[in-house]
């Protein structure tokens, strides 16, 4: 049972080489982007990257753990708020506000997980919605510390390794590097024994528990790890945009991320990445065409759920499978 859940992550051999060369090409195109693209494209890709972290976080929980958590934007915004409070307002130097933010995320995620992980499925979803709303309404109602609607302003990226990060191409490279690092970490997690256990819990928690795994604590652990992914993205987002407001944490943003992940294919490693890139560009296009942005997004969401529940990568996979079936037996590849 657990073996079969692994297969989606292992491309078959014939596609393997194709996949690697495609990956290398995309990677080269991404690294060299600032040399051939205009500033607007660069900032759009930077946005893809930090929202990509959020998507990875959601995908880790949804694709691997089978949990739909609506709290991830809270962790995304939380680091931004801490950086704003300590860095921009109190003037504390670079690594400390960021580290404090990450630490706070770990603590809060742990506390959330203690409550959330008692539940599964729909109750989990609803509970996470409620917890997310607590976070959002706290940021909105608290005027003394977090400035209510206005949020935090004036966050600046630090100078790192002699790179001036206010230059958009420098910031882009930094984000890309951090993102690649995060992808590598994610790959290690997914391929590890821990990842296997999480997928096992997704399929059958009772059985995993009978096999002697501490289902509750394993789920708590994956939740904290996922929160950290969102938190790192939140640091990049705060540096890049300079502001954090309650709308950073809003449910609409969370639903957007969920759509992104499902659009790409939650169970595929590259699903959230693909989904984010498409969705960020889709955002740009839709907002130019119509003010009814949410309606269009909602319709796309409905269509994806109805027609491609495993996302674009799932659709691609099933098309491949159909082509293979239609091929007459004995013909060469």
């Amino acid at each position: 049972m657990i073996q079969s859940t692994r297969s989606a992550w292992r491309p078959e051999r014939a596609e393997h080489r194709f996949g690697w060369s495609l990956g290398a090409l995309v990677f080269i195109l991404m690294v060299t982007l600032p040399w051939y693209a205009d500033a607007y494209t660069i900032t759009t890709y930077t946005r893809s990257i930090y929202f990509g972290f959020l998507a990875l976080s959601v995908a880790l929980l949804l694709g691997q753990g089978g949990m739909i958590s609506l709290t991830q934007t809270i962790f995304f915004g939380m680091t931004g708020y801490v950086i704003g409070l300590l860095g921009a307002e109190r003037g504390i130097a670079f690594p400390w506000p960021e580290l404090a933010g990450l630490l706070l995320v770990v603590v809060v995620a742990f506390l959330f997980a203690l409550v959330l992980m008692r539940t599964y499925g729909l109750v989990f979803l609803m509970l996470s919605l409620a917890l997310g709303q607590i976070g959002w309404s706290f940021a909105r109602q608290n005027t003394s510390l977090l400035h209510g609607w206005a949020g935090m302003r004036g966050i600046k990226p630090p100078e790192l390794f002699g790179l001036d990060l206010s230059v958009s191409s420098h910031f882009y490279w930094l984000s890309l590097a951090v993102f690649c690092g995060a992808l590598w970490v994610l790959w290690r997690i997914v391929e590890s024994r821990f990842g296997l256990v999480i997928r096992g819990i997704r399929e059958n928690p009772r059985r995993m528990s009978a096999l002697g795994y501490h289902v509750f604590w394993q789920r708590v652990a994956i939740f904290v790890v996922a929160a950290l992914f969102a938190a790192v993205g939140g640091i990049l987002a705060a540096w890049s945009s300079g502001i954090v407001t309650p709308s950073t944490l809003h449910l609409n943003r969370m639903i957007w991320v969920l759509l992104v992940v499902i659009l790409g294919g939650a169970r595929y490693f590259w699903g959230p990445v693909l989904g984010t890139v498409i969705a960020v560009w889709l955002d740009v296009v839709i907002s130019q065409l119509t003010p009814r942005y949410n309606t269009v997004i909602g319709i796309i969401f409905v269509l994806v759920i109805l027609m491609a529940p495993n996302g674009l990568l799932g659709l691609w996979d099933s098309l491949q499978a159909r082509r293979r079936r239609n091929r007459p037996p004995g013909s060469a590849l």
Binding site: L122, V123, L129, R292, N294, G298, I299, P309
Partner: protein
């Protein structure tokens, strides 16, 4: 005293909302995330109907009725198609649906908060124990009592209710007995949506309707339903009353903490009894 009455009003509204949500869940195992959007749409429609016809009763019925039809459309047109996808994809679909409704409401009625004017006969202040209290709030409480009794009667004293309760326990057997389970699903979902729409008109007559309210309302209703136990009418009633009081008292004394104090009992409840007051494990 006033604070308690406010809490009771709030609790009544919570009950109307929560009962709709819990009804749909109990029968169909769907958490309808567009319940908040149903509330908002029902309220806005009621507002427009009241403006054109001047009849508040008609506004309530139209708000509820139209939303019920929309619910039927959602259930028959979309949810039924992805039954194989399981509860989660159905729930996700209702989230998407809710986004569309909320956005179209914003397009139609704009971003300014609107308030429905209840008829003078219902809203004149009532003197009670030496206090003056808006009469409309008593109407709201009374409506909640009527709805509670009506639902109880429908579910526990009619043949239809018997079929509904049986299909909660074992849908295969019920449909094997020749009862049209699809029809029951549609009816219950429509009833649930109707309650959402009616709650919107009632809520819009005592609070305000504005964009974003759908999510706030959805959150409150979910809390009510989770605390009460999914699928349980009695649990919804009790938790709605308790949460109404908590919200009212915290708004009066510690407004910055009001959201916290509403969610705290839920977290506590789930820590002790994950299935809620009267829920069972699913």
């Amino acid at each position: 005293m006033i604070i308690m009455l406010n809490g009771l009003t709030q609790g009544a509204l919570f009950f109307i909302l929560g009962s709709g949500l819990t009804l749909a869940f109990g029968v169909m195992r769907i958490v309808n995330m567009s319940h908040g959007a149903f509330y908002l749409l029902g309220g806005y429609l009621g507002f427009s109907v009241l403006q054109h016809t001047g009849s508040w009763t008609l506004a309530v019925l139209a708000g509820g009725g139209f939303v019920a039809l929309l619910g039927l459309l959602l259930e028959r047109g979309l949810l039924e198609r992805i039954q194989a996808g399981g509860d989660l994809s159905q729930t996700l679909l209702t989230i998407a649906f809710s986004m569309i409704i909320a956005d179209l409401c914003l397009a139609t009625w704009g971003g300014h908060p609107l308030s429905i004017r209840a008829p003078a006969a219902l809203s004149s202040p009532v003197r009670l124990f030496g206090f003056l209290y808006p009469g409309f709030r008593f109407v709201l409480m009374l409506t909640a009592v009527v709805i509670a009794f009506g639902l109880w009667f429908l579910l526990f004293r009619t043949r239809l209710g018997m079929a509904v309760r049986a299909s909660v326990d074992d849908r295969e057997t019920v449909s094997a007995l020749g009862i049209r389970i699809d029809t029951i699903y549609s009816l219950m979902f429509m009833l649930s949506a109707f309650l959402g729409g009616v709650a919107g008109v009632l809520g819009g007559s005592y609070l305000q309707l504005s964009p974003g309210e759908d999510i706030t309302i959805l959150t409150y209703s979910l809390v009510v339903v989770i605390v009460g136990g999914l699928g349980s009418l009695l649990g919804t009633l009790i938790s709605a009353l308790v949460l109404g009081q908590i919200l009212s008292f915290s708004l009066a004394f510690v407004p910055e903490m009001s959201m916290f104090l509403v969610f705290a009992p839920m977290a506590l409840m789930l820590a002790i009894r994950p299935q809620g007051l009267f829920g069972r494990r699913f």
